[in-house]
Structures are given as structure tokens and as C-alpha cells.
């Protein structure tokens, strides 16, 4: 009030001094903001809709065109400095200084968005070229792509009106990635772990592929040898047959057994049928069971003569001499006792019998001469069986993710079969090239911290704002990662402006639940 005279002359051009009655009217004016109501999406050409729209419009127009009455003393004077794109305060700042503005070179400045907001609130009057700026001028002059875009200002204003402390985000104030690594060993760990995981999951298909090929060629070779052997086998029976009459004749010749000197002839007596019992194509085993005679009651009747010749006394204890043995009565006495089996068991046995075939029908088995060879064969088969995986799955370029023959812990397996890798927001973000398309505009502090807020020591923001619009593209993963990395451990909120409406979105890390804990 003291310098009213001085300002009075200046104010002549632009100040209307209101009469008391006008002031009173302005004061008792309704402060209600018109209700926006439901949004109509389609014109239905009805009078009702038109009226409603008209009414709403006039309400808004009247609101905007309303003259604002401010107390001159409450207005802080400031000047717009276009070269610096800041507003310099000319008179002492008000309460807003706690959360807005900055000092430089002994002067106090406001950022354009702050100045505009304060203008709208009726706290600041900005002059440019000695003339006061209207709010409309402010919008035109202050908002530009080099300072603050309209959308950003909308977000700024919105948050300010809600009570948040909103400050410009200064990228340089953020710690460098190197400092982050030092301060945040966790993120370092994460990336290390990731690398490791990637290495373990690297596909081994090329090597296994060649292995399979080798195996298949080996198989072929084996087939070849087998077929050759089979040819030899075919020759064998003939020679065998050629021998048999001779042996039978020697038998008749050696009717009476003689000791030792007779060499092998003395146990040739019972040979007759036994020889043909042997499968002709099988390889000779160590024991020639055609000459070593067991009283096998299971052998067919023509193979086992009904009368057993007496064994040679030299084979028997106490130099026994025993007579012939009649086998026939014993045949009928085999297995007189019933096998006790339930019906179910019987059926199962029957089923099993049908399914299983004589292993000796296989040529490879018949070619084995002893257990060592047989076991080797079994091992080979086992190996082949495990290697003989379905060709249509493994021979192509695309193979199953995991070879079931190689047992690995379940955790690793799950990791291996997860086609879409789960990712962390900060994962690999440090390596991304910074782009200008997306940037963080503001640091936001919660309203309840305003009382303790210090501009010199701002502390950790509650959130950081990235402003975009529904017209623009949706931020891609790359942008999100980059911003998240830039922001560090403060969440980035995307404020999406749709003309007057602002929606807030945020992306958060979360872990898909796994049912295996390792």
C-alpha cells in the first residue's frame, strides 16, 4: 500500500480499479467449476443434446471470460526473459518459493511452467517489454518445445493443483550408470546372473545333430555286416547237414564205450537227436551241448530218446556203473502241481507271453557265443535304444528344447523350456542408446512432504513423470527400459494426456510364480 502512488501511474494503462460494489460482487461470486457430466460420443440430433451442449459451452465460456479480481499487493512482479526462457522475479517471492523457482547470480527465477501456473493461480504478474502478460499470452510465450510443451504443462498443473511438489527433472542430477553399479550391487548381480543363465541355456543342437548322423552311419555299417553274416549263415546249415550222417555212423561204430583213449568219441553215443535240436544258424558256444548230454525232459520226444544210455563210469562218483534209465514215465509226471494264480494274474501272464518273443529268434543274439558277447550286444542295444530317438523330431533343423537322455535339475529344465524369457525392467538397460523421443519431465514429491520440503535437498522423489499423449505412440519396451534405467529406483509414471484428461500408467517388475524352489 505504501507505493500505491507510484504504481498507480503505471497501472493506469492496464489496471482497472474496481469500485467497492464490483469488488464485493466479485468476491461473492460462485466459485463452483461447472460440472462436466457424462461425455456424449455421438450426436443424436436431438434438441435435448444440443441444449445440454450449449449450456455446458456457455458455462465454460463464461468461466473463461470471467474477469479475475486479484489484490495488487498479493501479486509478485516478474519479467519474462525470452533469451533464457525463464521468468525473473522483480519483487520478493511468496509462499510458493518453498517449492518452486530457483536462484542464480543473486536473482530469483521461475521456470515458465511455474510462472504460468502461478499466473493462473493469481500469484504472479509477469511483464514483458514493460507490459503485463495475460494468461493467454503466457500460454503462447512460455510454452514451446524448447521449454515445456502444452501437454507437459497440463500434467504439471494437474499435479500441482492436487498438491504435489513438481520439479523439473534434471538428467545430469541423476547418478551415472557407473555410480549406480557401485551403489547398487543388486543390479550388478542381476546382470551377472543373467549372463550365466544365458550361457547355460545355449542350445547344443549342432553337436548332437552330428552325433546322430554318426550313429546312423554306424547303424548302416552294422546292418551291412549283419547281412553279410546272414549270407554266411545260410551256407552253414548245409555243411552242418553234410556232417551229421557221418557222426551218426561213428556212433554206431562205437557201440561199447572205452576209457580215456577213445578221446571224445565215448560221449558221442547219445548224440543222434540232440544235434538237430541246436538252432542251425546260431554261433557255436563253448560247450557243445550236442555231445554233453542232459536228461532234458522238456525236449521233444524225438530228440530225447525214451531210454537214457548209462553215463560213463569215469564221470560218476565211486566208479558207479548204472544201467539205462527210462525217461518216459517221468515226462508225464512233470509239473503235476497246479500253479496257483488268480484269473487276473493268468490273463496278465497270457498277455505277457503273447507280447514277448523268443530272444533267440534274433540273429544278433544267435551270433553271440557266450555271455560276454551277449552282454555286449545288450549294452549296444540299450545304447541304440536310447540314441534311437524319433527321427522326425531330432533330424530336422528345429529340435525339441531338451534331450530327455540328459537329466538336469528341474529348475534348469524349466528355465530351458521357457521360450519367452522373463526379463527385468532394468535388465540390459544400461547398454541401450539413449534416445530423445522419450524423456522424463518432472520429479514428483508427495503432498504430505511439502511442509518439510527443501529445494536445496530434495531427497528421493515419489515418482517421475514422463508425459505423452494418446495421439502419440505407446512407449515400447526399449523406451520403458531406458526410462526406468534413467530413473533408477524411482518409479516412472507415464502421464498420458487426452486433451483435458490425464491418465497415469506405470510399469512394474513382477515375478511369475514358479512351483519349484531350488
Amino acid at each position: 500500500m505504501a507505493d500505491q502512488n507510484k504504481t498507480g501511474t503505471d497501472a493506469k494503462f492496464y489496471n482497472e480499479i474496481l469500485s467497492p460494489s464490483e469488488l464485493f460482487a466479485a468476491r461473492s461470486r460462485s466459485h463452483k467449476i461447472p460440472v462436466r457430466g457424462q461425455k456424449d460420443f455421438f450426436p443424436d440430433d436431438s434438441d435435448e443434446q444440443r441444449q445440454r451442449l450449449e449450456q455446458s459451452l456457455t458455462e465454460h465460456w463464461s468461466l473463461i471470460s470471467e474477469e479475475r479480481v486479484e489484490k495488487l499487493g498479493n501479486l509478485v512482479k516478474a519479467t519474462w526473459v525470452p533469451s533464457e526462457k525463464v521468468v525473473e522475479l522483480q519483487s520478493p517471492a511468496g509462499k510458493f518459493w518453498q517449492t518452486m523457482g530457483f536462484s542464480a547470480g543473486g536473482k530469483q527465477f521461475l521456470f515458465p511452467e511455474e510462472a504460468l501456473y502461478l499466473m493462473e493461480c493469481g500469484n504472479v504478474q509477469v511483464f514483458y517489454q514493460e507490459l503485463p502478460l495475460s494468461i493467454q499470452d503466457g500460454y503462447e510465450k512460455f510454452l514451446s518445445s524448447s521449454t515445456v510443451r502444452l501437454q507437459e504443462y497440463q500434467v504439471f498443473g494437474h499435479l500441482k493443483r492436487l498438491g504435489y511438489v513438481v520439479l523439473r527433472f534434471d538428467p545430469s542430477s541423476e547418478t551415472s550408470s557407473y555410480a549406480k553399479q557401485l551403489n547398487l550391487p543388486q543390479s550388478h548381480d542381476r546382470s551377472g546372473k543373467q549372463l550365466k543363465r544365458k550361457r547355460s541355456a545355449s542350445p547344443t543342437t549342432p553337436s548332437s545333430h552330428t552325433e546322430a548322423q554318426e550313429e546312423s552311419t554306424a547303424d548302416r555299417m552294422e546292418e551291412d555286416t549283419c547281412s553279410r553274416e546272414s549270407q554266411e549263415d545260410k551256407k552253414y546249415p548245409e555243411s552242418h547237414r553234410a556232417i551229421s550222417p557221418k557222426t551218426s555212423s561213428t556212433q554206431t561204430a562205437t557201440a561199447s564205450p572205452e576209457d580215456g583213449g577213445g578221446g571224445t568219441t565215448w560221449w558221442m553215443e547219445d548224440v543222434v537227436g540232440e544235434r538237430s535240436d541246436q538252432q542251425p544258424a546260431s554261433a557255436a558256444s563253448r560247450w557243445d551241448f550236442s555231445s554233453i548230454f542232459f536228461p532234458d525232459l522238456g525236449a521233444s520226444r524225438e530228440l530225447l530218446s525214451s531210454c537214457l544210455a548209462s553215463p560213463h563210469p569215469s564221470l560218476l562218483p565211486g566208479a558207479l556203473a548204472v544201467g539205462v534209465c527210462d525217461v518216459d514215465p517221468w515226462r508225464s509226471r512233470i509239473n503235476l502241481r497246479d500253479v496257483k494264480m488268480s484269473l487276473k494274474e493268468q490273463m496278465r501272464e497270457e498277455e505277457k507271453r503273447k507280447r514277448r518273443s523268443d530272444i533267440n529268434k534274433n540273429r544278433e543274439v544267435r551270433n553271440c557265443r557266450n555271455w560276454a558277447e551277449y552282454r555286449e550286444l545288450m549294452e549296444r542295444r540299450e545304447e541304440r535304444r536310447s540314441k534311437g530317438r524319433p527321427a522326425h523330431l531330432w533330424d530336422g533343423e528345429v529340435t525339441p528344447l531338451h534331450d530327455p537322455r540328459q537329466p538336469i535339475p528341474t529348475g534348469e529344465l524349466l528355465d530351458k523350456i521357457s521360450v519367452i524369457k522373463s526379463t527385468n525392467l532394468l535388465e540390459g538397460a544400461s547398454r541401450l542408446q539413449a534416445s530423445d523421443e522419450w524423456r522424463i519431465s518432472f520429479n514428483v514429491y508427495q503432498p504430505d512432504t511439502v511442509a518439510d520440503f527443501k529445494k536445496s535437498n530434495q531427497g528421493k522423489p515419489y515418482a517421475r513423470m514422463c508425459v505423452c499423449s494418446f495421439d502419440g505412440p505407446v512407449p515400447d519396451l526399449r523406451a520403458i527400459k531406458q526410462l526406468a534405467f534413467r530413473s533408477g529406483d524411482v518409479p516412472v509414471v507415464f502421464a498420458v494426456v487426452d486433451y483435458g484428461d490425464i491418465s497415469f500408467y506405470t510399469f512394474k517388475d513382477f515375478q511369475l510364480p514358479t512351483d519349484v524352489f531350488l
Binding site: 554233453i292 536228461p295 532234458d296 522238456g298 525236449a299 564221470l315 553271440c368 557266450n370 528341474t410
Partner: protein
Amino acid sequence: MATEGVETTSEDVPVPGKVSTRYDLEKETELRFEVEAGEAVEQVELELLTGMAEVFGSELNRNKKYTFGAGSKIAVFTWQGCSVNLYGKPEVAYVSKDTPMLLYLNTHAALEQMRKQAERDNERGPRVMVVGPTDVGKSTVCRLLLSYAVRVGRRPTLVELDVGQSGVSVPGTMSALCIERPADVEEGFSVQAPLVYHFGSTTPGTNIKLYNKLTSCLAEVFSQRCEVNRKASVGGCIINTCGWVKGSGYQALVHCASAFEVDVVLVLDHERLYNELKRDLPHFVRVVLLPKSGGVVERSKECRRDTRDEKIREYFYGFRGVTFYPFSYEVRFSDVRIYKIGAPSIPDSCLPLGMSQDDTQLKLVPVTPGRDLTYHVLSVSSAEDGEEGARKGIVESPVCGFIVVTNVDTQTQVMKVLSPAPRPLPRHTLLIMDIRFMDMK
């Protein structure tokens, strides 16, 4: 010896209170008699008067009285004809002409032929597996063949895989025994330094995995012995199996054949088993079907249990409980480690992913000594008393002896044991058996 004995009717020495019955046997016939089972039963004595006779392959001495206790089932066979006297009152006694002895003898002849060939070619002798259902005379055939083999100068090995009715050691074990002389008519084979493995139960079904593992162990040890001992190699082995021939039992037989690399399988009186083995064993294994003897008696469950009990008693007290004097002393819980082989099986759904049930069957589970340990038979494992690291080998280590827990005092943490040797225990790793023994007599 071989000459026919003069038909002298030896004047019957009157045995007070005993009836004497004389039997004249024609050649290739046998006298079968059974002694009643039960307590305080009169023993039956056998005496060969003239001729020659054998009991399960062991020859009888003339004018020597052989005593058979309760529950004995004996067949006296003669190749040439003989006369014997029985003193006492057997439950049954009859002469039978119907014996498959000639077939068994022919089998022996064939095996001997193989041994001769092995000797000549510097190879290993025949390995024979005797299989068949229960109560067909598997053990008897084994004894017969082993006795015959020893009598012609061989050194065969008896491999006893019948965990229920072991002929070598206590039940619940699997063992191998080198046979150097024919079986004693009364006692059977003399048990000297057998190789015994702990199985722990009387049926292989309780832990078939362990059963197969121990079979492989025995086979490996036997093969090693064959490499260094030429005589044992030529003598080969005769494997006695248990009477379980279905399902896993059958698989165990096939596994055993493969582990021992058997050359001959003797199937006693079971045509189906014969056909199955013919199909599942490679062609170079000779599978032979033999009849069972008509004299084979089916043993009841109780009878088997009594035999088992008797076998354990014999281990501690000697034959007929008169030869050995076992020791009884106290063992502190802290001095021994007691394990059970095989964790209890749990349903697959309760296992962690990627684990299979098989892993548990060979696992050693520590047993906390408690009152329920009483009367259990424990094997003293020959595994070195190492720390935890040595636990791995315990399953595959042979047993050096057995003890029975007679009393457990949980207050003083001490148990009283019956042991064949005085204290201290040779080793401190004990394996618990399912089998219990009450020292009652």
C-alpha cells in the same frame, strides 16, 4: 569197498526202548522216512548194515549210527542194493522205486563232462543255476550235485541265493561257500569261511533291487576267485535260488543267470518256467527240465519258520545246540552304528521331481536303538569303521558275523547281545534284519 557186502545179518544190538526195523533195498531204490516235528520227539537212528547207500549224495558208513532229529525228512538211496536198520519210530517210512536219481546222476555226468572239457581247454567250469518253485527239492538237488562233484575230486562252489532257507548261513543272507568235502549225512556241508552278504529279510520281494545287487556282488567275487584259483574255476558253481518264479522273482532269476554267466539252468518240475527261460536266455545257455522226486514234501509256513529258527540257533550253539558256547555281553549304543538297508518306499507322487524310487532301495537308513530292537538279528558288517564317507560300501561289504539283541536298556543306553565271539565286536557297523530270534531253548 565196492565189493558187495556179505549178507551177514548183524546181530541186532538191542537199543533199550527203541524199536528196530530192518529194510532191504533193491538196487536203485530209496528208503524215505520222516521224523515227527515238535518238541521232545524221539530221534531216529539209521544204520547201514550191508551194501552201499547214500543220503543226498553222501555215502553212509557201514555200522555207524546216524541220528536224525525232529522234523528230518531223509531219503536213503542205493545204487547197488543194501539193507539198513532204523531205530526208533519214524512218522513215515517206506521204500520207493520211483526216484529220479538216475536223471540227476545223468545230469551230474553231463556237468562232469563239462568240467573235464574245461580242465582240458583251460577254461572255466560249468556254472549251474537250479530253479523251480518252492518245495521241489532245489536245495537237495544242489547238495546232490555238489556231493557228487566233490566225490569225483572237484571243488565246486555253492552259491546260496535262497534268502528264506539258507543252507549256508543264517536266513536273510546270500552266501557262497566253497565245497571241499561231501556233505555230512547229519549236518550238511561243513561251513568254513563262507562269503556272506546281508540281505535282511526272508523274501527277496522286500527289496528286489538289493537282492539283484548282492547277486551281482557274489558273482563278481566268485569270478575273481575263479581267476586266481584254477580248481575253483574248473569246479564251477551251483546256484540255489529261491522259489519265487513269477514277476520280479523271475526277473531276478534272469538277472542272476546273466550276472553269473551260467551255462546250465536246471528247472525242477515247472514246465512254464522252463519255456520262459528257454525264451529269455540266450541260446548258449542250456536249460534243462528235470522232474522232482516223489519224496519231496511240502513244507508248511510253520515248518519253514522252525527251520529258520533252527538255523539261527545252529549258528550260535552249533549243530544240535551242543558244540558252541556263545557269549553274552553288553554293547553301548554309542559304540555302534545300526543301519537298515532300504528306506521305506513312498508313493511316486510324494517324491521330489526328478527323483526315482530306485534310489531309496539301496539307501542306508540309520536306526535309533530302542526297545523294539530286542530279539532282532544284526549282521556285523565287515566294512571298515570309517566315517560317513565309508557308508557307501557297507551295502556291498560281506558280513563277518551275526549277533542277536537279547535285551535293550534305554536308560543306560546299553543293549545286551548274544555273540559267537567274546567282546569286543570286530566291527562297529551293524545291519538290522527283519528276522527275530528268541533264545528260548
